[in-house]
Symmetry: C2
Subunit: 344 residues, 2 copies
Amino acid sequence: MNSSRPVTIKDIARRFRCSPSTVSRALNDHPAINEDTRKNIQEYAREVGYQRNEVSLSLLNKKTATLGVVVPTIGNYYETAVIEGLHTILQPLGYTLNICVTNENYLLEKEYLSKLLSNRTEGIFLSVSQETYDAGYYEHLESVIQRKTPLIFIDREYEDFETSRATVDDYHGAFAAVEHLLTIGYKNIAHLKGPNGLTVSEQRFKGYRDCLKKYDIPIKEELIINTNFKVESAIVPTKRLLDLDSPPDAIFGVNDQVAIGAMRVILDRGLKIPGDVGIIGFDNSPISAYTYPSLTTVHRPGRKIGMEASRLFLNQLNGSGDFVHENIVLPTELIIRESSLRIS
Amino acid sequence: MNSSRPVTIKDIARRFRCSPSTVSRALNDHPAINEDTRKNIQEYAREVGYQRNEVSLSLLNKKTATLGVVVPTIGNYYETAVIEGLHTILQPLGYTLNICVTNENYLLEKEYLSKLLSNRTEGIFLSVSQETYDAGYYEHLESVIQRKTPLIFIDREYEDFETSRATVDDYHGAFAAVEHLLTIGYKNIAHLKGPNGLTVSEQRFKGYRDCLKKYDIPIKEELIINTNFKVESAIVPTKRLLDLDSPPDAIFGVNDQVAIGAMRVILDRGLKIPGDVGIIGFDNSPISAYTYPSLTTVHRPGRKIGMEASRLFLNQLNGSGDFVHENIVLPTELIIRESSLRIS
DNA sequence: AAAATTTTTTCAAACGTTTGCATTCGATAT
DNA sequence: ATATCGAATGCAAACGTTTGAAAAAATTTT
């Protein structure tokens, strides 16, 4: 059986009765190589499908041109937008992105980070998993820091750690959303909150809370119900909201998915959107413009976050020794559509 | 400035005035190492944060434990489901997935494949880009074949190439969808088609066409309009359909996104779904159950595809020399919801 | 034709790890 | 006291490539 071991420089050298160095130089168009030798070797290499073993080069140069992207999930529009942004900047520079999905699992996250370091990844973009965040774990990050591998946080904050960070201004996005509802005449605004503990959830919740405070509206516990970001998780909570003695006249969902789930329940009850209940989401996912009614939402610039995060990485890389830690916070944008339109 | 070069086995050896071999054996719990030596070395290694350089091991063992996943996009639910499936099987086996997004671009696909080979990736899962497919390119695959790197096609067929393949039975899925519409009483069924040339588009179109044929219904050119899988791309085509002299009483969308876009246009015209127009999509994306009205669709088992593809890869890997090429086609499932419910 | 110069090629080391085989060092048996 | 044995450690090669310095070969100059 033909073992089909990849052709190496040594193989080519044997074939031409020359040294590996000559072959290497010929393949790399080194000037100190005879024109004929070069041509012959290059031609032969192409013929036999020689492909340089990057693994050996990585070992030699201590450069792998690989970056890790560690995220809790890739199911949602936002994450893929971030990855696209990273890709846009980093792919042309020759970097390969190694995308690792932790499923919100601490152990998996830890394993991935360790693996990325072992593989001599040159930088890591990390959105910590919920489990990690909840438990306040951070030891697995120590080794990344210790190794001085550039570490960029995307999206989720991690207070105790000083690294660069690119996040969206969830707080003001939420604030603007609720303020919009208030100024348009809604008075009793509920919030379908994200999982406790996550920065994204908490920031948006804070925006909701502080906006109500600003307008001297009491915060009612029964109007704040948790979800897990998924459509399904909005169903029961929304029903509970509608069954209240004084049901909300508007709902602010922690993301578009949840808002869409809520809309469904409301329409099923024969209520009108935005007539009876106003709805607002978060993310500005592509579908949000085409639901019925279309969904007012807060645009979250995922692609830009990816591009900014890339920039932060490159800064660290070219930075002089000690990293300059930057903290980029991108603004959101309120996108007003049908689900919140009501003449005040 | 502290250069913070990663600690190597040699560093540790120097510290203990012993040879690298001893350190290596100590770290790997080799039996022929003195208990004290072992303990001391292991402790010290932990202290200084030693992490074994997998790059050097990869070179030595010619094993990288890395697999490439080359897909045109990761924006949609289906692709992420496939990746999740791959992940489910392969992550526990120690494989790292290197996800590469080609954006339907041939050159990028070619570059990625070449890079993956150079990096000595042990297997490649490929869903060819539209450009590649359109142009019928295949040379970039030759080197993969030549190297005998296991290559598994996911989702998109590539006739001339014999490799293993895991796809969904789009044809029969589409057929069932249209048949459902017909048996429920719809007569004038339009199709919002996917981009020309893509297997997915063409197979679903064929299913549509053949089903109509089976029921002796003439195929009308004006009822078949192209889209690009995205919500927005359904808007204008749907308007055109509704403006026809004899507008369709049902629309079969090539995917859920397109179907949702169509629904939006129809509802905007004051028409009832499913009363005036029945709608059916494809994919069974999470959102499809919660649109208003909920969307009848064809379930596409992305996760299963990923798992099957993994199985095919493992078979090739353990297979004896010459690969056994398998061709897995998974069935779809019709999910009947509101958008097609009409008493016949 | 020898010396000087230029062109072309080879040598050897390095990257970090593992591993078969050889070596060293005590200790035990003769 | 010496041979024998076992345990512990070291040596050296290997993986594939690059690269500065040295060597060899070819060319030009004297």
